[in-house]
Point group: C2
Chain length 577, copies 2
C-alpha cells in the first residue's frame, strides 16, 4: 500500500523548494539525500506502517503507575531512532548529524505518513534537545542533549496544566531555589505527549514553572529541565497521574503528570530566570511547523489510500451510459469521485510545499539570511493551522471515496481522519493561531513582516502573466486591503477588531496556498521544458486549476465578511444561546 | 447532561412547523403530544444516554454465527419498543398507533440525540413494516406487520451486495419460484444495519433480488420478505457472514448476510414482480429523512455538550484585558468560542426545522394534500444530505470548543463526530443525493416540482420585507438561474452537465436552510408579539444573522462556479493523479 508519493516528494524537494540551494557548500549531494530518504522509506514501510492499525486498537495502558506501550511500538521507534533520525535534526557538536532541516523534515513527512503517532516521540525529542542546544550550559548539553541525540533519552514539552490550557499566564507549577543552583518543582501538568513511555531509559521534561516572587503572568515563567530519573538513576518524584484516552493519535501517549507530589522533584533552570516562555516559543514554533507537516502527511496518506481504491473498485456506469449489461467502471471514472480525489490533492500538495518552504527558511536563516526568519515567523501560524483544517477535510473526502468501506476499520482512512482531528487543537488551537497571526505577527513592526511576505509572493508572480497570475494578484490585494482595515479596527477596539481572527487566518492561508500552487506550477513548467511534459506534470496544473476555481475563489466571500468586520458571532450574548 | 433543547423542540413543533394544523380533527391535543415527548425524554434519559459510551467502546461481537450485543443494549431497546415507539409510526389497523408523523419524528429526534445507534433498530423496523403496510397482503400483514408493530420482530433493508453498493442495477441475489408462491433466495448482502441482533425473536429482511428471466438492470428487481426464522420457528438459511467494524454508530450492528448458502432460504414476494425498486424507494426515502434527522440529532447533542462546557470552563481573558491577576473568564466570553457555538446552532436548528417540515409534509399528504408529496420528493435529498454534511461540521466545532478534552473519550463530542461521519455515506452517498436532485428531481415534469418549491419559498418571504427577505430572494433567483443553466448543460451532455451535481446540492441546501431560518425568525417574531421578547427569541434572530452573513453568503461563490459549470474536476484525467 502506497502511503505517500515519492515522485511528488522528490519533485517538491528539488523542483519546487530548490533544495540544491541549501546543499551548495554542504557535504551532502543529491545522491546522499536520496539515500537518507530511502532509509526513511524502508524503516517507515517495515516498522511504522505494519503496526498502525494494531497500535490504534490497542492504546497505551496505565500499569503500576507507568505507561506501557503495546507490542511493536518500542521496536518501531527504536529502529527509527537507531537509524539516526533524532540526531539528524541536531547540530554536530553534541552527537547530532547537522542535516539540513529540509531533508530532516522530508524524512519526518515519510514517517508521519506511515504512522503519525510513532513519529511524535522523535519530533518532541528533537524540539526539546534543540532548546538545550540553544540555551543550555555545556554541562547540560553533555548530561541531556547527548543522550537525547543518541536516542537514549526522549524529551517532552510540559506547558499546559489542568486549569491552564491555552492560557499559559495562569500556570501554577512552582520552582523553589534549593540554594545549590537546583530547584524544587511542584505542580501538575496536563496533555503531555510522550510524558511517559517504556521506550527509553529516561525522559527529559522541559517544564514551564514560576519561581516565587517573580512577576505575575507570562513574565514570571521560567523553563526547567526535569528528568524523569535523576542522572544517578534514582527517581525524581515525577508521577504519571493518568493517561488520556484519545480519539486517535494513540501511539503517542498523552499524560497527566504530577511533579513533586512527595516534595522531592528536582529540576535545573535552563538559561535565565523569567525567560522561559520566550525560550519555549522556539520549541512551540518548531512544533507548530511539525504539526502542520504531520497533518499534511495524514492528508497525503488518505489521498493515496483513496486513490488506490478509486482505481480498483468497479461500481456503476457513467451518467450518460445506462446499459445495465455493460461492465461496471472503476469509480475514478465518475466525475464526483475525481472531485473528491482532486480536492485532496489540491490540499495536500501545497501543504507539503509550504512545510518544505518553511524548512528551507530555517536552512536559509542558518546560512545567514535574516529575512528568512521574518518570513518564517509570519508563515508559522499558517503552516500549523492550514493543513490541520484542510488536510483534515481531505481525510473526510478520503473516507467518502471508499464509501461504507471507508467507515470501517479495515481501511486506514477512518483512522487517519481521527488522527488528524487532533491537529487543529494541540500546539495552539486554530483560534489561537488566528489571534497570533492577526493580533501579533501582522501588526508587529508596523506590518513589516506582512509587507515582506506580500513582496515575496508578488516576486513569484510572473510579470508576463500565467493562467493564475491575475487571480493570485487580486486575492493578495484583497488580503492587503482587509489587513489594513482590520488593523484599524483593532486600533479602535481590540476585542471587536480581533473577533474574526480565525476567518482572517483562513483567508491568509488560502492566499499562501495559492502562492504555493503558483510555485508548483512554475516548477512543473520548468520540468516540462527540461524533460518534456508528462501526466504527472499535467496533474499539477489541473489540480492548481481546481484549487483556484474552487478554493482560492472562497477568498472573495471571506474578504467581504472581514472587510465589513461582520460581528454576528461577537454580538451573540452568552445568554441568548 | 442536556443532550437536546426541549424548549427549542417545542418552539419548532408548535411555532415553526405549526403542528396544530395536523392535530386539528385528530384525537391528539397539545397535552397528549407533550405526554408522548415526556415519555420519550424519560426513556432516552434513563436508557439510551447512560450506556452510550459503553456501547461505543464495546461493539457487538460475532459469537457462534450470531451477533451478540453488549449489556445494556437489549434493555434499552426493549424499553423504547415496549413504550410503543415502533407502533407510533404505524397505522392503527395492524397494531400501530397512527400518530402524526411529525410527533413520531420529534420523538425519534430525542432518542437519536441520546443514542443514535440504539435508535436505528426502530427506524429500520418502522420503514420495513410500512412497506408491508403499503404493499403486503392481509396475511403478510398478520404474519409480519403485527409482530413488528409489537416489537417482537425487527426489520431490515437488504439492498447492497459486495459488488453492488451504490449501483443497485448490479445486484445478483436470485429468487427462484418454488411453484407454491414462495421463492428460493440465494445471494450475499452487505452493509445490513440490524442484519443480526439478539434483541428480538425474529428479523424480517426486506430483500431486493432478481427473478430469473426478468429484464436486466433495475427493471428486473423484485422485493421479498425473508425472515431470519420461518414462522414455524425453524431456521431459514440466513447466515451472518460477519460484522463490520465501524468508526462509530456502533450500537447498530452492521452485517454481511448470506442468503441460501445451503440452498434452503425461502422468501415471499411483496407486491408484484419487478416492482421491487419502486417499492423500496418508499423505505429509502423514509430512511433518507430519518438519516437527516439522526444527523441533526447528533449535531444537536454536540451543540448542547459544547455549550455546557463553554459556560463552565474558565480560560484566559478578553484580548483587550491583559491583567494576569484578574480571574479567568468562561470561554463562552471569547468571540471565537461564540463563533464555534453559533456555527453549530446555525446548522442544527434549521436542520431540525427541515426534518419536522418534511414530517409535516407527510402528514399533510396523508390528509389529502397532493402538493405536499411533490414538495417532499424535492426536499428529500436535501433533508438527507444537508444535515449529514453540515451537522457533521457542527460536531467538528463541538470538539474544538472543548479543546484537548474534546479529543478524549471522557466527553461525548468525539463519539458524536464519529457517529455522524456515517451519515454522508449510507442511504445514498452525498454524491448520489446530488445526482438524484439535479439529474432527476429538478428535471422531472419540466421542472414542475422545482418551480412549486420555489413558489413555496417565495410565499414565505414577507412582502413588507424583513432583515432577511432581500438576501433570500436574491439567492433563490440565483438558484433558479443556475438550475436553468445546468438543465441546458445536461441536455447538451449528461456527463458534463451533472459533473457538479454535488455542489448544486449544497447550493440548493443552503437556500432551503435560508428559508428555514426565515421561518424560524418569523415564528420568533410572532412569539415575541404574543408573549413578549426573550433571550431565547433574540438568540434565534442572531443565529439567523450569522447564517445569512456566513453561510448563505457562500451561495454566491457556489453559484458562480455552477453558472460557469467549472469542469476542473471532470477534466482531470484518471492518469494525471
Amino acid at each position: 500500500m502506497r502511503f505517500y508519493d515519492r515522485q511528488d516528494l522528490e519533485f517538491q524537494l528539488w523542483d519546487v523548494a530548490g533544495l540544491d540551494r541549501v546543499l551548495d557548500g554542504s557535504e551532502l549531494d543529491r545522491e546522499a539525500v536520496t539515500g537518507i530518504l530511502d532509509t526513511a522509506d524502508q524503516i517507515a514501510t517495515d516498522h511504522f506502517l505494519p503496526p498502525a492499525r494494531f497500535l490504534d486498537e490497542n492504546e497505551p495502558r496505565f500499569v503500576d503507575g507507568h505507561a506501557v506501550l503495546p507490542d511493536g511500538a518500542r521496536t518501531a521507534v527504536r529502529a527509527h531512532v537507531d537509524a539516526g533520525f533524532i540526531a539528524a535534526g541536531l547540530k554536530p557538536d553534541h552527537g547530532g548529524m547537522g542535516l539540513p532541516e529540509t531533508v530532516h523534515q522530508a524524512a519526518a513527512f515519510i514517517f508521519s505518513a506511515a504512522n503519525v503517532g510513532l513519529g511524535g516521540y522523535a519530533m518532541l525529542t528533537v524540539g526539546a534537545a534543540r532548546l538545550i542546544e540553544s540555551f543550555g550550559s555545556d554541562r547540560q548539553k553533555r548530561d541531556y542533549l547527548e543522550p537525547m541525540a543518541a536516542g537514549r533519552f526522549f524529551g517532552t514539552m510540559c506547558l499546559s496544566e489542568p486549569q491552564a490550557g491555552s492560557s499559559l499566564s495562569d500556570i501554577t507549577t512552582r520552582a523553589e531555589p534549593l540554594g545549590d543552583g537546583r530547584y524544587r518543582i511542584t505542580g501538575r501538568k496536563m496533555w503531555i505527549s510522550g510524558g511517559d513511555q517504556d521506550i527509553t531509559e529516561n525522559i527529559v521534561h522541559m517544564v514551564l514553572a514560576k519561581i516565587p516572587g517573580g512577576p505575575p503572568g507570562v513574565k514570571g515563567i521560567s523553563l526547567f529541565i526535569v528528568p524523569r530519573a535523576r542522572l544517578d538513576g534514582s527517581g525524581n518524584d515525577v508521577t504519571l497521574a493518568g493517561l488520556n484516552h484519545k480519539m486517535g493519535f494513540r501511539a503517542t501517549t498523552n499524560c497527566a503528570l504530577n511533579f513533586g507530589d512527595n516534595g522531592d522533584c528536582v529540576g535545573e533552570l535552563l538559561g535565565e530566570e523569567h525567560k522561559g516562555l520566550a525560550y519555549m516559543f522556539q520549541m512551540m514554533n518548531e512544533a507548530r511547523i511539525g504539526v502542520g507537516m504531520g497533518a499534511t502527511a495524514l492528508g497525503q496518506a488518505g489521498y493515496q489510500a483513496s486513490l488506490d481504491y478509486a482505481r480498483e473498485r468497479p461500481q456503476g456506469r457513467a451518467p450518460g451510459g445506462k446499459d445495465a449489461t455493460a461492465p461496471q467502471i472503476p469509480i475514478i471514472e465518475h466525475a464526483d469521485i475525481r472531485r473528491l480525489l482532486l480536492a485532496q490533492k489540491a490540499a495536500v500538495e501545497p501543504a507539503l510545499a509550504l512545510a518544505l518552504h518553511c524548512a528551507m527558511l530555517v536552512d536559509q536563516h542558518r546560512m545567514g539570511d535574516a529575512g528568512a526568519a521574518v518570513q518564517l515567523d509570519m508563515l508559522t501560524p499558517v503552516a500549523k493551522s492550514w493543513p490541520s483544517e484542510f488536510c483534515l477535510e481531505a481525510n473526510k473526502h478520503a473516507i467518502q471515496v471508499l464509501g461504507g468501506a471507508g467507515y470501517t476499520r479495515d481501511y486506514p482512512v477512518e483512522r487517519l481522519y481521527r488522527d488528524n482531528r487532533l491537529n487543529p487543537i494541540h500546539e495552539g488551537t486554530h483560534g489561537i493561531q488566528g489571534l497570533d497571526l492577526l493580533g501579533r505577527k501582522v501588526l508587529m513592526g508596523g506590518g513589516a513582516g506582512f509587507h515582506a511576505l506580500a513582496a515575496a509572493i508578488r516576486a513569484d508572480i510572473p510579470a508576463a502573466g500565467s493562467e493564475f497570475s491575475e487571480s493570485l494578484s487580486n486575492r493578495l490585494e484583497r488580503l492587503e486591503r482587509v489587513t489594513l482595515s482590520l488593523a484599524g479596527a483593532i486600533g479602535a477596539d481590540t476585542d471587536r477588531g480581533l473577533a474574526n481572527a480565525t476567518l482572517y487566518l483562513d483567508l491568509f492561508g488560502h492566499v499562501v496556498m495559492g502562492w504555493m500552487w503558483l510555485r508548483i506550477v512554475a516548477a512543473a513548467d520548468r520540468a516540462a521544458a527540461r524533460d518534456g511534459d508528462s501526466d504527472f506534470l499535467r496533474g499539477k496544473r489541473q489540480a492548481a486549476r481546481y484549487f483556484y476555481a474552487r478554493e482560492l475563489a472562497r477568498c472573495d466571500g471571506w474578504a467581504d465578511i472581514l472587510q465589513a468586520n461582520d460581528l454576528s458571532a461577537h454580538d451573540m450574548a452568552p445568554g441568548w444561546f
